[in-house]
């Protein structure tokens, strides 16, 4: 019987150089693939604006325009420019929606909680959460 089998340090000693190199290579591969993936976001084509839970506007991102919607606390100005959307002005106190800045990729969202305004970039949802692998 080997002693100290449950000791973690003795387990590390069992790893050969090849094991350690393999783990290091896989970690590097994993981390680099994070960066490779972040660049490849899907740009959206349309966005929808919801006020107080109701969908009020459906806008194409290719058309530059300014829009003003009336929320529960005041006005929210939305600007569409160069396939991107942002909130330029809001009457809400915290201005989190303004500070979110420009969004352009599928699934990105600007929320103004006090004014109850939600701006979403539409697009096909990736439904791999439904895929159950066993």
């Amino acid at each position: 019987m080997r002693s100290n089998q449950n000791n973690f340090k003795s387990v590390i000693k069992l790893l050969t150089t090849g094991d350690k190199l393999l783990v290091a290579m896989l970690i590097i591969l994993g981390i680099t693939s994070i960066f490779a993936i972040n660049k490849k976001r899907l740009p959206g084509e349309t966005c929808s604006v919801e006020v107080s839970g109701e969908k009020t506007h459906h806008l194409k991102l290719s058309e530059n325009q300014n829009l003003c919607v009336e929320g529960s606390m005041g006005k929210t100005s939305i600007q569409i420019k160069d396939n991107k959307v942002c909130v330029t002005h809001s009457d809400c106190p915290e201005k989190i929606c303004v500070r979110t800045g420009w969004i352009s990729n599928v699934g990105q969202i600007i929320v103004c909680v006090p004014n109850k305004v939600v701006i979403k970039i539409d697009g096909e949802k990736q439904d791999f959460f439904n895929v159950i692998t066993q």
Binding site: L22, G30, S33, T133
Partner: protein, 187 residues
């Protein structure tokens, strides 16, 4: 300690059976062990539905190190078929993923154990198996089910988590193998 030892009885001679009776019995026990782990780990809550620890590969690894590649392949196929019957997922997409992932991972593990056993210990072999398992499934999901490149967004999560799970599986298998003292017989 004599009766605790598991002997390598894999034979290439056609006149003698592939496995002796005692080996065959032990392989069945390994299938049972893998089946229990396979079924029980579906009840473990997981953050994402496809992140599984893959503990059933403990049985595969023990079979691979104790009885060789063929035994490991037999154990993995039997375990996946029986597991699919128990869970009621026989021949549905999840089963296809599980089956192909398991077999590819076992083939890779057998290959690396055969030719690179001086480079990789059981930990390296197990991590290779875990990574190959998830990558096979990822490619198959991208090819057959989702048919979108975006599925590869999951690749970093898959690779990094399978390093961890592969390590855990190897640790458990190492404890089992060292308890039944087949490492010394095998190497």
């Amino acid at each position: 300690m004599e009766k605790n030892k598991i002997f390598l009885t894999l034979s290439h001679n056609k006149e003698t059976p592939l496995f002796s009776n005692s080996t065959f019995t032990r392989l069945s026990l390994l299938v049972g062990l893998g089946l229990i782990l396979f079924v029980v780990e579906t009840f473990i809550p997981r953050p994402l539905p496809w992140l599984k620890p893959g503990l059933a590969h403990v049985a595969t690894l023990v079979a691979l190190y104790g009885y060789g590649s063929r035994a490991a392949l037999i154990v993995v196929v039997a375990r996946i078929m029986l597991g699919a019957i128990v869970l009621g997922t026989l021949f549905n997409p999840a089963f296809i993923l599980s089956f192909s992932g398991g077999i590819t991972a076992t083939l890779f593990m057998a290959f690396f154990k055969q030719y690179f056993s001086k480079v990789f210990s059981i930990f390296g072999i197990s991590i290779i198996g875990a990574v190959i398992h998830t990558l096979t499934q990822l490619f198959l999901v991208a090819l057959l089910i989702v048919q979108k490149i975006e599925i590869f967004y999951l690749m970093p999560v898959m690779i990094l988590s399978s390093i961890f799970t592969g390590f855990v599986v190897a640790f458990v298998s190492y404890l089992i193998i060292s308890k039944i003292e087949i490492i010394s017989l095998n190497s």
